[in-house]
């Protein structure tokens, strides 16, 4: 048996021998990109696309209509899966076997009557996973440098850009809670309870327990 002192050494080192939060997020992101490519093939036999946009500005109406139709046969890239006993080499190769045939579309008919006033801003585009990972990485670096104000600022940016739809919400929440705990902010406990309710089996929990143990 290993003695208690060596046991303590090993227990102390275990977490640090594993990946940090940023690495966990990056690996997850990269896996998501790879398996996203390997998703079930999507066959689109024929698509007619009609787009109509109506813009109402200051009482006047400007109508923009674009009508196009395509006949398209497309199959998403098909991934060659390695046999059961093998593991794919990295990076996962993507073999695109099905050609994409697209008939030349008829010329678009565009009818525009643009109102003289300024158009309202376009609807915000959803945050990308790349951007989320960038923000998680930045928050992690700020945490390492003990720049709590910067951590809070980055988290606010994430929350604004993700608008509740981020895939790395759990990672950023964990960083936020850790930052609050490091600052001895009592709000941390409320957020921790919410975190537990939303992600009851989160892998980050042990880190948060350690970070927040000083709070009453």
């Amino acid at each position: 048996m290993i003695d208690a002192q060596l046991r303590a050494l090993l227990d102390q080192s275990r977490d640090a021998l594993g990946p940090d939060r940023a690495a966990i997020a990056r690996v997850r992101h990269a896996v998501g990109m790879k398996v996203g490519v390997a998703a079930a093939p999507v066959a689109i036999k024929a698509i007619a696309i009609k787009l109509a946009a109506v813009v109402v500005v200051g009482g006047s109406v400007a109508a923009v209509a674009v009508e196009r139709s395509h006949r398209m046969v497309a199959t998403a890239p098909e991934i060659q899966l390695a046999p059961e006993h093998e593991v794919v080499d990295q990076p996962t190769p993507v073999h695109i076997e099905a050609p994409i045939h697209e008939a030349a579309p008829p010329p678009a008919r565009v009818v525009t009557r643009v109102a003289p006033q300024a158009l309202p801003p376009p609807a915000p585009t959803p945050i990308t996973l790349s951007r989320e990972t960038e923000l998680v990485d930045a928050a992690t670096r700020a945490m390492r440098a003990a720049k709590l104000d910067e951590v809070r600022s980055i988290i606010a940016t994430y929350q604004r850009e993700a608008a509740g739809a981020g895939q790395l919400a759990k990672e950023i929440s964990a960083i936020e809670i850790e930052a609050l705990c490091r600052a001895a902010n009592p709000d941390a406990l409320t957020k921790l309870a919410a975190f537990d309710a939303r992600w009851p089996r989160a892998g980050q929990r042990s880190r948060l327990t350690a970070a927040c143990k000083g709070l009453p």
């Binding site: 090993l10 102390q12 275990r14 640090a16 021998l17 896996v31 593991v87 990295q90 996962t92 892998g203």
Partner: protein, 186 residues
Amino acid sequence: MVSRTNAPDMTTLAVSLESGSANALTFDEVYEQHVGFVWRVLRSLGVEQAQLEDAAQDVFVVVHRKLRDFEGRSQLTTWLFAITRKVAAKHRRRVRPAASADLMSTADPFRDTARAEAAALVARILDGMDDDKRIVFALVELERESVAEVARMLGINPNTASSRLRLAREEFAAAVKRERAKGRGR
């Protein structure tokens, strides 16, 4: 019973494990609960620090692809280990690193300094062990797997696993003693 969801994306792929509990296990849960295990095992199997992310990605791509086939007849960690070992074989370093300096470079000032130093010490010692002893030691002492399960993972006789563990423990204890003596400047 193995059930499949229709959606192939990461968060909804679910597998119902036959053994023990009837809880569905999503890919996300497998990832979160075992990414640390995979990472440390890759390291123990000789993958360089700089390659760990790529290697971990490869492991979890395979996990994602094969999770629906996992029927729970073995422990999940045993199944993960099998995948991890194959991936590690492709990434394994040719030359052992002189020191695990990059562990310290990822040290977080908020982390207990003692923890970071402990990890660097343990990593240095593990790097100095031969492959057979290192992996048994890491699986038992870091991942808290039983010797019987480790023997199953490695496909070796339990007596062989016990013997390697005993030798690894002796080597580890002696190495810690030497390192600490060095630290005290004797």
